[in-house]
């Protein structure tokens, strides 16, 4: 039988709802589900930088899709976070160009400075450290991304400074 679960799911704010309208307009009405990826991105911004099971269920209901279809997409792409991330999501590129420019030392410096290793979140919930693939800034390697901002031409010392400057 159908589950009789009546959950209190998170909801988009009115501003976010306005944004979804704009997103839907980008796609032909018969391919409404094509808007899933930008909507998931919006949801990730809205609900704390990651997609919890509840958020996925909400987005599924919002898009009129089944949760598994949304979860398939969310799990396929690494830039949707399925685990809770800290306030600052520190993403270090370790792909070929950055690696050749010694991104390993950047990772080491970050691990030392944040006292967490790659894939972990600091105890105070401020930082999550992640290794990522090429972010398209090879020309200024090595680089890292903190939330939406790129930081390029890095050295281990510079990284510590960047972290220290964060509010």
């Amino acid at each position: 039988m159908e589950p009789e679960i009546q959950k209190n799911l998170p909801r988009f704010s009115p501003e976010a709802l306005e944004k979804t309208e704009k997103i839907f307009k980008r796609y032909p009405p018969e391919y409404r589900e094509a808007a899933l990826m930008p909507i998931l991105h919006l949801a990730q911004r809205e609900f704390g930088g990651w997609l919890s099971a509840e958020v996925i269920e909400y987005v599924a209901g919002f898009m009129n899709l089944s949760p598994i279809r949304v979860y398939e997409v969310a799990s396929f792409y690494t830039m949707y976070n399925l685990k809770q991330v800290g306030r600052y999501h520190v993403q270090v590129c370790t792909n070929i160009s950055c690696w050749l420019c010694d991104s390993d030392s950047i990772v080491k410096a970050l691990e030392k400075c944040l006292k967490i290793s790659v894939g972990q979140t600091s105890e105070d919930g401020r930082f999550t450290l992640a290794e990522v693939e090429c972010l398209g800034a090879c020309v200024n390697a090595p680089m890292l991304q903190i939330n939406d901002d790129y930081h390029e031409h890095l050295t281990p010392e510079k990284v510590v400074g960047i972290i220290g400057q964060l509010p």
Binding site: M1, E2, P3, E4, I5, Q6, A53, E54, I56, E57, S66, P67, I68, R69, Y71, E72, S75, F76
Partner: protein, 799 residues
């Protein structure tokens, strides 16, 4: 029409056929995992590669359409080498645990590994591990064994319409599974996932570690649980049924089977009647007796009263044609009473005066044509839970663009696309159909009715389905005639396309055919005199006018039956029960004759299309229990006139003489009776029977609609442990408006009262239940005493 050569054999096929299909029609088996004839093409297992001349690389035959002049080799050196490569990759992450795997012996991966696989692995690294999931009581998972064929994903998405399985993550992290935070699978077809899985990743939980495939003897049979009559394969060993699998039948169940058909058999050994019992002459509780004593007593009881004072009631579920025929033969010709019926839940008996014929009672559109319908109209029907395999055909139609229209007191969880629902108060259905009929000529009326009329006018192949709610409706005959009138106006009761369909439960079709009704004899022969119908029999026995009541295979846990029988016993009516399952009500009857269930005897089942199918014996029942028709045969020896058949063959021939559909030669030939034999649209007037008006809801009384729970609506399924686990929480559905009025929040427990009975139940606020209507399961509301004439009027109190 392209002609090609496969393994030196020439074949001409339709354009668009794939190499795989062409080879299959030649009887050439190409190894495959992801290909399934009833699912879409995925082409991801790469096992079905074949060599095509002038193509540089092997191609996957399941996705490659044929071309004229193709030369295909399915067993060349290149192909064998390619298969070996594929097998090596598939086995990289597959555990080598065949000895402890349920699929062992029936596993394609195992078979192909023996045939094409390398004898040892070159893979040195760690194998991938995947967590298992709890998918509920039907499916056991061992996801390490998954080879990502995606059959389960395609089945649940395309066929069942319950999107619960998916491919999550990607690349070598990809795994097949449900969404996090998922509950048990909600599909009524979940068992098919295990059957589809080519490896041991998804197994049947109830069958887990029970037996090995090769130990089981496999018997072909027919499912009895609903009137679709799915073909099944019963696997048994040492007088025990271990599992039931589907058997391919393109005109009925395709490759599928619902969970009830698959697991309800577990209940067949529980709570069975073992020996004949009777209340001694001196009174008191029942005692065990011999068959002779019990039959003598029954004969004495029947001969002690006038034939007119004897009546018989048969259940429609679980009775084969054999005992139904013998039952009416015994009552009509041996006892000499015209009072017999099987329609226990029916409220409207008005069509008995102009008896309905075969075409009026069953599906007129063949099951396989249902998927060609371009507009489906459900009148009080919930096909997903009444006949799951019929719903699959409707779902196919809806996916092909058919619009679906439903009329009833609640919304449907039907998994049909393009569904438009007209939710009306119980009793207003006829009114709505009248408006549709009117709108078909005038194009005017309420919006919903005009929409129906427009859809009907556009439709070339409309299908109307009168469901259980409509058949057992107090205005059933009016609804039926209105449907005929509407179809007549749409010119859809024609020889080319007949859209009139009435759903029937259990072996009800067989009971009608073989004359277990008071108004017609077997084969719909006219009778000199009409007997009492089920309602009258119950009422007269409560008044003491019927002195002996012979019950065969009734559901003795059904609320209506229990209440009536208690009243009959009070009035001193002697009750004889012949059946298989014990219950509290069985303890109170005068004589108990233990019978057998489906699977323990030969039974002839008639499906909703009127197709007669025979199912054999797989196991033996309780040692003292007897085949039902033989009980009646033995009983008739105590009367002046005996039943004139001594063995099954003679009985089948007798049945065949009455109705040619039951002729052994016709049954064995597998001939499908022509379903479109309704002929004319409507001959009688439109109105019929007493009109039940929708109650005006000024008081705080509400209409309670009782629906049987899908998993527990028969004595056998109620006793099945898997069915019990699958059955949802018993809830009461209430509309938001009504909830507000009564200050109910979802999840509140409420108490409903009706005629002095009361029941406590949890509520669910369901916006699409009509205001003024409550919706409950029959199982939860048993204490309310069941429906008799109209609908139950109840009062509601918040606890």
């Amino acid at each position: 029409m392209p002609t090609l050569i496969i393994d030196d054999r020439e074949i001409t096929v339709k354009p668009g056929t794939t190499i795989m299909e062409a080879a299959r029609s030649l009887g050439i088996e190409i190894p495959h995992f992801c290909y399934h004839p009833s699912l879409s093409i995925a082409g991801n297992c790469r096992m079905c590669m074949v060599e095509v001349e002038k193509m540089p690389k092997p191609v996957i035959s399941c996705a490659m359409p044929v071309n004229d002049g193709m030369v295909v080799r399915t067993n060349s050196e290149m192909v064998v080498k390619a298969r070996r490569g594929v097998m090596e990759f598939l086995l990289i992450n597959h555990p080598l645990d065949c000895p402890v795997c349920d699929q062992g012996g029936e596993c394609k991966l195992q078979d192909y590994a023996v045939k094409y696989g390398p004898d040892r692995s070159r893979f040195q690294d760690k194998k991938r591990t995947v967590p298992n999931y709890d998918l509920g009581p039907v499916i056991e998972t061992e996801m390490n064994r998954c080879i990502h064929c995606t059959r389960c994903i395609r089945f649940s998405t395309e066929v069942a319409g319950v999107e619960e399985m998916g491919a999550i993550f990607r690349g070598d992290h990809m795994k097949v599974g449900p969404c996090p935070g998922h509950g048990p699978l909600t599909s009524v077809l979940a068992g098919n996932l295990a059957e589809l899985c080519p490896v041991g990743a998804l197994n049947l939980k109830p069958f887990h570690f029970q037996a090995r495939g090769w130990e089981l003897s496999k018997t072909e049979g027919i499912c009895e649980h609903c009137a679709v009559g799915c073909h099944i394969r019963v696997d048994s060993m040492e007088n025990r049924i271990y599992r039931i699998m589907s058997r391919q039948c393109s005109s009925i169940n395709l490759d599928w089977l619902c969970d009830k058909g698959r697991f309800a058999f577990e209940g067949m050994t529980e709570g069975r009647l073992q020996v004949p019992m009777m209340v001694p002459e001196s009174g008191g509780p029942q005692v065990e007796v011999t068959w002779n004593q019990a039959l003598d007593r029954v004969a004495a009881l029947i001969q002690g009263v006038a034939p007119e004072e004897v009546a018989g009631l048969a259940g429609s579920w679980g009775q084969g044609g054999e005992e139904l025929y013998a039952f009416q033969d015994f009552l009509r010709h041996v006892v000499g009473t015209p009072h017999l019926d099987h329609r226990l839940l029916r409220k409207d008996f008005s069509p008995d005066s102009i008896p309905l014929l075969r075409a009026d009672l069953m599906l007129n559109t063949p099951l396989q044509d249902m998927e060609r319908a371009d507009a489906v109209f459900l009148i009080g029907a919930g096909p997903r839970f009444e006949m799951p395999l019929l719903n699959l055909r409707l779902r196919k139609a809806s996916l092909n663009g058919a619009s679906v229209w439903s009329l009833g007191p609640r919304h449907l969880l039907s998994k049909l696309e393009n569904l438009e629902e007209a939710i009306v108060l119980p009793g207003e259905e006829a009114d709505f159909l009248r408006k549709v009929l009117n709108a078909m000529t005038t194009r005017r009326g309420p919006k919903a009715a005009v929409a129906w009329a427009n859809a009907l006018r556009k439709a070339q192949r409309p299908v109307f389905l009168l469901g259980r709610f409509a058949v057992n409706h107090p205005n059933a005959e009016t609804l039926r005639r209105l449907v005929l009138a509407v179809l007549g106006k749409a010119e859809a009761v024609e020889p080319g396309w007949n859209g009139y369909n009435r759903m029937i439960s259990g072996n009800g079709a067989g009971a009608h055919d073989l004359g277990v009704v008071p108004q017609r004899g077997p084969g719909y022969t006219k009778l000199g005199r009409r007997g009492m119908n089920a309602r009258e029999i119950f009422e007269q026995s409560a008044l003491g006018k019927i002195k002996v009541l012979f019950l065969m295979g009734l559901d003795m846990e059904s609320d209506t039956v229990v209440e009536y029988l208690a009243a009959a016993a009070q009035a001193g009516t002697k009750i004889i029960f012949q059946g298989a399952f014990h219950s509290a009500a069985v303890d109170k009857v005068d004589v108990v004759l233990p019978g057998l269930v489906h699977g323990e005897k030969f039974s002839t089942l008639t499906n909703c299309e009127g197709r007669v199918q025979r199912s054999g014996r797989v196991v033996h029942g309780p040692i003292m229990a007897k085949e039902d028709w033989r009980i009646l045969r033995a009983l008739s020896q105590r009367f002046p006139q005996e039943l004139p058949y001594d063995n099954l063959q003679e009985l089948w021939e007798a049945m065949g003489r009455e109705d040619r559909h039951y002729d052994p030669a016709v049954v064995d030939s597998g001939e499908i009776p022509k379903a479109c034999d309704h002929g004319v649209g409507l001959t009688e007037g439109l109105e019929c029977g007493a009109e039940v008006d929708a109650e005006e809801n000024e008081t705080d009384r509400l209409v309670l609609i009782l629906e049987p729970s899908f998993y527990r609506d028969t004595p056998m399924s109620r006793r099945s442990s898997t069915m019990t686990k699958l059955d949802g929480v018993e809830v009461l559905r209430i509309s938001g408006k009504e909830a507000k009025k009564h200050k109910i929040v979802a999840g509140d427990r409420v108490c409903i009262e009706c005629n002095g009975h009361r029941v406590e139940v949890r509520t669910v606020v369901d916006e699409r239940v009509k205001g003024g209507v409550l919706l409950g399961t029959r199982e939860a509301m048993r204490e309310l005493g069941g429906e008799k004439d109209g609908f139950l009027q109840v009062t509601l109190k918040v606890l």
